[in-house]
Symmetry: C6
Subunit: 77 residues, 6 copies
């Protein structure tokens, strides 16, 4: 089976951000593996400011890691 | 389509801060893609101290990344 | 007795992520050593968006450490 | 118009700390631009332990950035 | 009197983790020096998912510091 | 007037930890300058597990900065 995380390298900062979002979501899946439960929770927290901000915080933490792993994409044009 | 995040480089610390704010907001948009819902939530959390502080925390985390990516703007006059 | 944490080195980013999840859970076990209590708490927080996001935040913090310890798996194919 | 953030450099750690406080507050202003609302919120959260601690957390995150930008003021007497 | 924190160096990652737990707990003791009060609070938060996760977050932050201080135990067998 | 923060350098890790505690508290004082209010809040949050853990989190963030500023006290005996 292919790895869901073969590398932290991405071509662009935007793809790095998308990877950070993915990294944030996988931990939720590992804690709550039942997709039905997650689907039920989603509309609720997607309308809860505090949950949205907290989710953004997790993305920020992962983005710091992904950006460092990519040398902040310094050599990109 | 142009990338919303072509680079982490900015000319000045202030622009780096603005980028951090943008990075914080995009994660919210990705979790709650419906602009109407976000518009409805905004006045509520913009009057909630805890939400304002939590949002500021996300900006702080992203600003650390952007500042590192820019070498802390050491070579700026 | 074998150590539960002999090294921070992992072969792949995905295994590094799994280690981050483990690092997050061990602290919970140390604070609440009673497995029965933890088992009782699990279904509750696994259905609580805020708890799921907070757990994901802990994983993100540990993943940053594990990724740095592995040089971001730069030399992996 | 002069920038509110021309540099992350400060002469002393104490000035660096003050800059961290400023960095924390600007994000609040950007999310809630209405000074009247902010003035209304202030007495409330200034008497709320959790809000005070959360605000201190934001300052801590920014102080880490400012301190790194200043090389931890190693060359100061 | 011997210092409770003579060094951040540990022989193994596992001991580093234990030190991170200790570092997290000392701050609680400094804020609430009364052992009786802490003993009273413990059973309560040890059954509160959110508190357990928040405590794990503090450990994660300290573990990052301890791991960096030990060069991520790179030279260990 | 002497600075409350002349340097981030400390002789030992323990003193570095004490400095982190100080750094955490100063932000609270800057947000709530009234000592009487702070004295009134203290017994309340000192008996609140979540507040104690959150305060410990702030200390952890500052300790990371202080430890880095001191090169993790590597050259100490």
């Amino acid at each position: 089976m292919a790895s869901w995380l073969p590398t932290l390298k991405t071509d662009t900062p935007e793809e790095g951000y998308d990877l950070a979002v993915k990294l944030a979501r996988v931990a939720v899946k590992l804690t709550q593996p039942d997709a039905d439960v997650r689907d039920r929770l989603r509309p609720e927290y997607a309308q809860d400011s505090n949950a949205l901000i907290a989710a953004s915080q997790v993305v920020a933490t992962h983005f710091a890691t992904v950006a460092a792993a990519n040398g902040y994409w310094q050599n990109k044009p």
